[in-house]
Symmetry: C2
C-alpha cells in the first residue's frame, strides 16, 4: 500500500489550488484549519511534502523566507519582490539548455532547474 487518499490530504491539495498564488505552508494551514479546525499543523506540512514527492505540487524555495507551494507543476520561473515579498509566476519560456550548460559538473546528473528572480514589482516601483 503506497499512498492513501485521506480527507486531510485532499483538503491540503485543494487549498493550494484555491489559494492559487503560491501560498506558504502557513497560508495553507490557515485556510484548511478554517474549514476543518481539528487538523494538525504537522499534517499540513507532511501532506505538502508528500504531494510534492508525488509530483502533485511543486515546492518553490524562497531564500530567507518560507517555502511556497504551487499547483502548476510545469517548469516555470518565479519572481519575488524585495519590497513587498510577493511571489509570482513569470510568463517566460523555460530554458532547457540551462540544464545542459551545467550538466556533469562535479559528476552530477542534472534533471531540472528552478530560477528565482528578485527585484521590484511595478506596484513597489511607484512608491
Amino acid at each position: 500500500m503506497n499512498q492513501r487518499n485521506t480527507f486531510q490530504r485532499t483538503l491540503t491539495l485543494d487549498a493550494v489550488q484555491t489559494l492559487a498564488n503560491h501560498p506558504t505552508a502557513d497560508d495553507v494551514y490557515n485556510f484548511v484549519h478554517a474549514k476543518y479546525p481539528q487538523i494538525s499543523r504537522t499534517t499540513v506540512y507532511r501532506n505538502l511534502n508528500k504531494l510534492c514527492d508525488s509530483n502533485d505540487l511543486l515546492r518553490v524555495k524562497i531564500f530567507g523566507a518560507a517555502d511556497r507551494f504551487d499547483h502548476n507543476i510545469h517548469s516555470h520561473y518565479h519572481f519575488k519582490c524585495d519590497e513587498c515579498g510577493d511571489v509570482c509566476d513569470l510568463d517566460v519560456p523555460y530554458i532547457e539548455s540551462i540544464n545542459e550548460m551545467f550538466a556533469g559538473i562535479g559528476g552530477r546528473i542534472v534533471n531540472a532547474h528552478q530560477i528565482l528572480f528578485d527585484g521590484l514589482c511595478p506596484e513597489c516601483q511607484k512608491k
Copy 2:
C-alpha cells in the same frame, strides 16, 4: 559617533576571513567562541549584520538553509540531489546576463537571480 571598533567585531570579521569558505553565522560563532568563550551568539549575528551593512562582508542567501558570509563573495548556484536531499554549492560562474534576459518582463525591475538545480549526486548514482 557612527561605528566603534570592538574586540568582538574584529574577531567576527577575522573569523569570516579565516574560515574562508562562506561560513554560516553558526560556523562563525563556533570559531569565535572557541577563542573568546564569553561572546554572545547575539553579538556575532549583530556584528555580521553590521559588517554587511558597512560592506566589509557580503551575505549569501541560500534556499532553505542558513545565510552564509564571505569577504569576497561570488553568487553561487546550488544543486539538490533528488535522492539524498543534500544541497551543495556549484562552483560555476554566475551568469549576469540572465538578469538582462528577463529584465523588464511585466514591468518588473530585476536585481538578481538564484538557480537551484536538481538531479543525482555522484554518491547516489552508484546505488
